[in-house]
C-alpha cells in the first residue's frame, strides 16, 4: 500500500517535471515565434512600429511586377483581398515560386519598413489550391520572367 502511495508521488513528480518542461518550451515558443497574421488593410491600419515581424495575406496586383534578376527576387504590389484599393508595396529577395503571378493570393513574411511604408519580405508563398479555375484571359505574367 505504501508502495502504491509512493508511486503516486513518483508519477505526480514526473507529470510536474514534464509539464514544467512543456510549459517552458511553450512559453518560449509563444513569446519568440509569434507573428501578426494580417490582411493588407489590417497592416495599413496598424502602427508601423508594431510590425517588426508579420505575415501578410494579400493578392498580387496586375501592374508593376518588377523582377530583380540579380537577387532572384521580385517587387510587387500586394492588394487587400476584399478592398483592392488598399495596397502595400512588397520587396522580396529570394526564389520566386512557380505559381507566383498577377492575381494569385500570396503570403509574405518579413518586416514593415516604417520610413518607406513598404514591406521587406524574406519569404514569399503562393497559395496552393486544390482546384484550379480555368484560364482567365487578361492575366499577365511577370515580364521577362519565364519561370
Amino acid at each position: 500500500m505504501t508502495n502504491a502511495k509512493n508511486q503516486k508521488w513518483v508519477y505526480l513528480a514526473a507529470v510536474l517535471l514534464v509539464g514544467a518542461g512543456v510549459g517552458y518550451l511553450l512559453f518560449s515558443g509563444l513569446s519568440q515565434n509569434s507573428v501578426y497574421f494580417l490582411n493588407v488593410s489590417e497592416a495599413l491600419a496598424m502602427p508601423a512600429e508594431k510590425l517588426a515581424q508579420a505575415r501578410l495575406f494579400g493578392s498580387v496586383a496586375g501592374e508593376n511586377i518588377v523582377p530583380d534578376p540579380a537577387s532572384l527576387g521580385v517587387s510587387f504590389t500586394a492588394q487587400d483581398k476584399d478592398d483592392p484599393a488598399k495596397t502595400i508595396r512588397v520587396h522580396y529577395r529570394g526564389a520566386v515560386p512557380d505559381t507566383f503571378k498577377a492575381g494569385v493570393e500570396v503570403i509574405v513574411e518579413g518586416t514593415f519598413n516604417p520610413q518607406t511604408r513598404e514591406f521587406e519580405a524574406s519569404t514569399l508563398l503562393t497559395k496552393c489550391p486544390s482546384k484550379y479555375e480555368k484560364n482567365e484571359k487578361g492575366q499577365m505574367r511577370p515580364p521577362g520572367f519565364n519561370g
Binding site: 502504491a4 526564389a95 520566386v96
Partner: protein, 627 residues
Amino acid sequence: MHAICFTALLLSMLTAVGLAALAGIKALKDDFGTVPLLEKGQLALTVVVVVVSVVLVQALAVRDFSYAYVRDYTDTFLPLFYAVTAFWAGQNGSFLFWYLCVALMGWCMIYTPGYSHLDNRTKVYFWILFFLVEIFFLFALTGPSNPFTKLDPVPADGSGLNPLLQNPGMIFHPPLLFLGYAGYTIPCCLALASRLSGNGREWLDLCRNWNIVAWVFLTSGIILGAWWSYMELGWGGYWAWDPVENASLIPWLAGTAVVHTSIVGRTRKTLLRTNVFMACLTLWLCFFATFVVRSGLIDSLHAFGGSRMGVPLLVFMVAGFVLTLYVCLVPRKDDASHLDEFISRPGMLFLASWLLLCLGGIVLLGVIWPVLSSLWSANPVGLDAGFYNRVCLPLFAFLALIMGLCPWFGQKSGINDKLGLGIVLATGIVSAAAVYSLGYTQPLALLAAASGLMIVVSVVATFIRTKGLRSFRPAWGAYGVHLGVALMVVGVAFSGPYKVEGEALLTKGQSMNVGGYVVTFQDLRHDHDNPAMDMHEALLTVTRDGRDVGQLTPQKRLYRNFEQSSFAEVSVIPSLGEEVYATLLGFNETGAVSLKVSINPLVNWIWIGGTLSCLIAFLCWRKIEPR
C-alpha cells in the same frame, strides 16, 4: 444517372437513420434482437456506396463532363490513371471516398473473428454509433458536398487536375490518410459501445488489429505527403509545419498514443477509461483535421477553404466529443485502476503516451492560435515554423531517448537487464561523442542522433539477449517499427539543421558552390513534342573536390490548361549520405537559369525508416480465434 446516384445515397441515409432509431428504441426496452437486421443494413449501405463510387470512377474514366465533379478535376488530356484518381482530388469526391472506406470497413467488421466475441448488446450499441457516423457522411454527400451535381449544357472540356497532384506521391497520399481516418471509426465505436454495455476490456484485444491497420495507413499517408512535398514542391524541405500538414499529424499523435496505452491496458488490466477516451479522441481529431482543411477558418498555404462543410464537421466533431466525455466520465465498477512503478515498461509507455498527447496538444494549439488569439488581440497572432521546431523537436528527441531505454525495464518494476541498458547507454555516449567530433555540434540534433542510434542498438540487443523473443512474431513487428522510427529520427536530426542551400543565376559554363559541391550549368534544353506539356530542362554537372558526383536535370514544365503558371520538376542525385537536390526556378531570354541547389544529409533515411515502419507493422497482427 446523376439523380439515381443521389437518390441512392439519400435512401441510404434514411435507411441508416431508420435502423439506428429502431435499434435505439428496442434497446431502451432491453430488446437486442435487432443485430441481424443491423448487419443486413450495413451490407446494403456498403453495396450502394460501392455502386455509386463505381459510377463516379467510370464517369471520370470516360470524362463525362455532365458531372460537375468530372468537369472540375479532369480534362481530355489527362492520362487515364490520373483521371481515375481524381476521385479523391476534390472535396466532394474525397468525402465519398472516405465514406466508402468507412462502409467497407464496417462490412469487413461483420466477418472478422473478433466480432463473434461480442454480445448482442454491444453489437447493437456498436451499430447505432457506426450508423451515426455513416449518417454524417451521407448527410454531407446529399447536401453540402454532393459529387453527383449535373451540368446542363455539358461543357466540351474540363478544368484539368492541378499539376502538383499529377505525381505518384500525391496520388496515394490522400487515400491513405482517408483509409487511416476510416480505420479509426471502428475502435472508437467499439470502445464506446463496450463501455455503454458494460462489457469490460475485451474490445482492447478486438481493436488491436484495427488500430494497427489505421495507424499504418495514416503513417504511410503522412510520410508519402512529406516525400511528395520534398520531390514535387521544389522548396527543398519535407515538412513546413503548415496547418494542413499539422492537421493530419494531430490524429497520428493521438493514434500512436493509443497503440501504447492499449498495451498497458491489455497487459496490466488498467487504464480502461483512458483507453476508451483515447480511441474516441483519435477519431474526433481525424474530423478536426478535415475541419481545419475544409473550413477555411485557418489561413493555410492550401486554399481548400470556404466550403460549406465547415459547420457540419464542427457540429459533428463537438457532439462526438461531448458524448465521449459523458460516457467516460460516468463511473463504472470495473474502472478501478492501479499504477505500476514508474520505472517499468508500463510506466515508460504511460510517459511516452503522455508526451505524444502533449505534442498533439501543442500542434493543435499552434494550428488554432490565430483563431484563439483574436479573443484578446485586435489582429490575429499566428506562430511561425520556428515555434514548432522550438517546442516540439525537444519533446520528440526525449521520446526517442525513452524508446531506446524502455526495452530494458521490467514488466512490473525496475530494470530487467542491467547489462543491456549499459550497452545502450554506452552506445549513446560514444555515438554522441563521435557525431560531435565530426562537427555536428547542435545540442538537440546531437541528442536526437544519439537517441536514434541507441534505439537501433537497443532493438538488436533486445533480440539477442531476450529468450524467446525471436520466435514471437508480434515482437518483430513492434521492434521493427521502432527501428524504422530510429532511422527517421537520425534522418531528421541531420537533414533538418545541417541542410545547406544556395540560389544563383548562372549562364552557360558558370558554376556555383554549395556546401563543397560545385554545380556547373552546362545546357538548357527545350522539349515541345509532348501535347500535354511544354518542358525546359537544365543540364547540370556536379563535382566535389574535382571528382565527378553526377548529373542533375531539373525541369520546368508548362502544362496545357495551366499555361499561366509553370511547375518545377526537382532533380536529385540519390544518396544515402548527402543528397544533392536542384530546382530550376526560372530562365530568361539570354539562356541564363536561376537555380536553387541544396545538400540534404541523410534525408533518404527518413523514407527508408518510414517505409520499414509501415510495412513491418503488419507483423504485429494477431490472429483472434473465432468464437
